[in-house]
Symmetry: C2
Subunit: 234 residues, 2 copies
DNA sequence: CGGTGTATTGAAATTAGTCAACAGAGGTGG
DNA sequence: CCACCTCTGTTGACTAATTTCAATACACCG
């Protein structure tokens, strides 16, 4: 049994980890498939767009952004991946990663050998089912992003972003009223929300003026979560 | 063996059909899981948002749109599903359909009992793998939509829509230079592309003026496919 | 204490949305 | 077969939102 098993006990991925169900440890099975809890420093790249799919990753702590730069020199952030999220799903369909993956803060990830994992899925339906859960969750999230990100004006997109970020982080055991740290740069958020950093900044200022969001440095909290939630529901 | 097996031989879903791989016909297996090639008339609803997931559908011919109306009375089209597409994937994650599914033209769909299919997946890895292919393809498409639909201005979104529609339809055996029919209303396209029907109409007119798209009635063709493709690459 | 990258703010320019009028297609009944 | 109606799509003038360009402030790090 690997040394990291105790680390897994406290990993916030919890139920979402592929090991939580069905995969027996020992006989080299574990070691062939997974390299647990690797560190990724802020700014380091985990994988590169267009490189062949070799591993998928489970985020254990921190935050990984996926991005691609466009021919005209601008940058598109396709997602922020927080603890519990599987990374590399976008590559499954075409065997190549569709974006660069870069840590926005110091992070930890577990690395799974995809080919080995697939072999395993054929004989372990529970792991296959868990994979399916991850992928459909991923699809559902993209669906939702597509539905909301474009349906709302800039100000509501900003508000919604912080609401969802708050949700995600509070799922990891933090209280609802606690102020939480923003684990990425503001311009990354702006690009993710498909607006210029200027527009983002202006709307953030407006949200503070209206008392919908309290923010200082890189920390924020919602004075009235219910109200904020209501506003982003179109 | 069901009467519809001959119909399947000519179905354009082809390789994407869940039966193309691994599921043996006979012993009631087929009949329990699938109702093949049902008709859906234009405007009829296949399933309703928020109703519990019971079936998933494979589009064999025609076009099914998925949509939801917002509290403020407007309509959001989340996707158009053409032959070969699996319908209802969005429901897998939360056991309820997240949108209404409505046929935009007379269509044909095969209906799969989801619970039975899942059971089957546990014992038939090949079907599980095919399901995974569908789901990851769905996710990849959403990813792409999210990346492009928002990154481009209105005119390029319109152009890109027709390019992709053209691609999809030409995959079904039609020639590249053939004029193809638009299988949905223009206002549905507009909503799908997140713009008003007016904006859509204006940009369509602009594309015709610029000679990028030939369009008459409900049929279109690209005078210069390469150019159009280059323009939509940001 | 500067220097670099990041964030904010202001004014002008561009894009898309809104409101309103009109045109065309398709269907129904006389 | 035509008149009428309705739904859909087009076009124009105006308004609102967002981007762009430019200048300035702030924070982190050597």
């Amino acid at each position: 049994m690997p040394a990291s098993v105790t680390a897994c006990d406290t990993c916030c991925a919890g139920d979402l980890c592929l090991f939580a169900e069905g995969l027996t440890v020992g006989a080299g099975e574990w070691e062939r498939i997974v390299q647990p809890h690797g560190e990724v420093r802020a700014g380091r790249r985990l994988y590169q767009r267009n490189s062949p799919l070799k591993y998928i990753y489970l985020v254990c702590s921190g935050c990984i952004k996926t991005q691609r730069d466009t021919p005209d020199g601008s940058l598109v952030i396709s997602g922020f991946h927080l603890p519990g999220d599987l990374l590399g799903i976008d590559a499954i369909n075409n065997d190549r990663y569709t974006a660069d993956a870069v840590a926005t803060v110091d992070s930890e990830v577990c690395r799974f050998d995809y080919a080995q994992l697939l072999t395993h899925c054929a004989s372990h339906p529970k792991i296959a089912a868990k994979m399916m859960t991850h992928v459909t969750r991923y699809a559902a999230r993209k669906d939702e992003e597509l539905a909301w990100t474009m349906g709302l004006n800039a100000q509501r997109r900003v508000l919604r972003f912080f609401l969802r970020l708050h949700d995600s982080i509070c799922l990891q055991g933090r209280s609802d009223r606690e102020t939480v740290r923003i684990p990425m740069r503001k311009q990354d958020i702006a690009h993710y929300l498909r607006m210029t950093p200027e527009t983002f900044s202006r709307n953030l200022a407006a949200l503070r003026r209206d008392g919908l969001l309290e923010l200082q440095k890189n920390h924020f909290v919602f004075p009235d979560r219910g109200l904020a939630h209501a506003i982003t529901q179109i």
